[in-house]
């Protein structure tokens, strides 16, 4: 029943859940879900760039996300537009440019659906290496910057006053987000990677009372979503990304139920 491609997809998914668990918590705490979505949208442009210039896809996506993040910072200083408007502008224009360029690439066969929604058939050995190698790297960095990043998340002034240099850690975190999107679009798809960052963390929030607990539960939630999602994707022949996110949503609904019971007990 289990084919090679499926084992690879499982391993890839598990790797992704291990990274999106903790990073997703910070995305929620820092209210960056729209920003994560913007980075994910720009990934399409990254992929087309990779095809045009024959670059590694993950590298190209990472590069475009990083450029977009810097561009956003510049825009913030130049206009008085609110952040969500700027993010919307960048998200949709980079998506549009990416799609326009795809239109020109008539000679290259290109699976847009797979890119948008993930394709478990497409996970190769080198993808696995990228996900696990990159994932371990991201988690080590996160572990190192955890304290100052957390303090900056709680309160910028407090962190800065007590010598934490929040600007530096905010920038590092943005780069980590770009990296995680770059290595996970293949399996979850660029339209749904934000869901993988947010939904497990959101369900964890419902049932946790301290930061570490939330990170652990978010990771477990992500792992369960990946497992349930991938098995049902295989069973019902659905795209992997939507199956994973649907599984995550179902788990989220369960966390709401449990939360209610828990608070009733407390009363």
């Amino acid at each position: 029943m289990l084919n090679d491609f499926f084992i690879r997809a499982l391993l890839a998914g598990i790797g992704i859940a291990l990274i999106t668990g903790p990073i997703g918590c910070f995305v929620i705490w820092r209210r960056l879900s729209f920003f994560a979505g913007t980075l994910a949208h720009s990934a399409l442009l990254g992929v087309t760039m990779a095809l045009v210039f024959e670059l590694n896809i993950a590298f190209s996506v990472f590069l475009i996300s990083a450029v977009l993040a810097i561009f956003l910072l510049q825009l913030q200083t130049k206009t008085n537009l609110p952040n969500d408007a700027l993010l919307g502008l960048l998200a949709h224009s980079s998506l549009a440019i990416g799609l326009v360029i795809i239109g020109f690439l008539t000679t290259i066969r290109f699976d847009v659906m797979g890119l948008l929604f993930g394709d478990i058939l497409a996970v190769s050995q080198s993808d696995l290496l990228l996900i696990w190698g990159g994932g371990v790297f991201i988690l080590i960095i996160l572990k190192i910057i955890w304290k100052p990043l957390f303090a900056s998340t709680i309160n910028y002034d407090l962190a800065k006053a007590e010598g934490m240099n929040p600007d530096r850690y905010n920038a590092i975190f943005t780069i980590l987000m770009a990296a995680i999107i770059a290595i996970s679009i293949k399996i979850v798809g660029l339209l749904l990677i934000t869901g993988m960052l947010i939904i497990p963390a959101a369900l964890a929030r419902n049932i946790s009372n301290n930061p570490l607990q939330m990170v652990i539960l978010s990771t477990i939630g992500g792992l369960l979503s990946i497992l349930i999602g991938l098995f049902s994707s295989l069973e019902f022949n659905t795209a992997s990304g939507p199956s994973i996110i649907t599984a995550a949503l179902i788990l989220f609904c369960f966390s709401l139920l449990k939360f209610k019971k828990y608070s009733e007990l407390k009363k």
Binding site: T153, I154, A161, M164, N209, P211
Partner: protein, 248 residues
Amino acid sequence: MENKNKVLLKVENAGVSINDKSLVKGVSFEIKQGEIVTLIGPNGSGKSTTAKIALGIYKKIDGKVKKYTDKIGYVPQKISIDWTLPIRVLDFMTLTEELTQDQINIALNLTGVEHLKNKSLSNLSGGEFQRVLIARAISKKPELLVLDEPVQGVDFKGEIALYELIKQISEKMKCGILLISHDLHVVMSATDFVLCLNGHVCCSGAPHKVVKDSKYKELFGDRASNILSLYEHKHDHTHSQDGTIDQK
């Protein structure tokens, strides 16, 4: 008597403007070990801004700030913990410094909130939260404490106890303190040096000198001078509604 102590912070002619509007300017003072320097002034006079300048929170400031210590504890005037972040008092205590359970317990005990250790920050009352903020700032044994209205929302009895604690900390731990307070009684009785702000330094000096200053009286009214004594003097400037100075 404190003169031999190490200088912890030196602010020279400092100011900050946002969008070309000056929030505060021309502020100079220094804080030594074991010394309490207090900023007073009406709302919007630049007290918190001055504290943030001293802490190096602004990226661009006029003038100079020299810090001679990295061990700083800060109690900000406003801090809102997002409900999206589950955090207990315990987690909050170790925000910028690793502490042992003992150190956490002692600090929380000093401000009278040890029983709240495992409570969620979002469930605390305003006064309880202030006590936790103070406990966190002192738990890391700072050399410099910056307290921006530290007892806001604390009950009357607690307020006196906390000010007593702050005074003790400065004496026992040889800690320099920059305090922002509206309680003129406390300021005048417990402080070594007072800066009276209103967009700039109106007057400064030892408390008994400041209360005699005309500008102090003008800012806080005649009754404020009665805190120590009442003096008559002539004014050299007045403040218009937006805080600018009209010379007489």
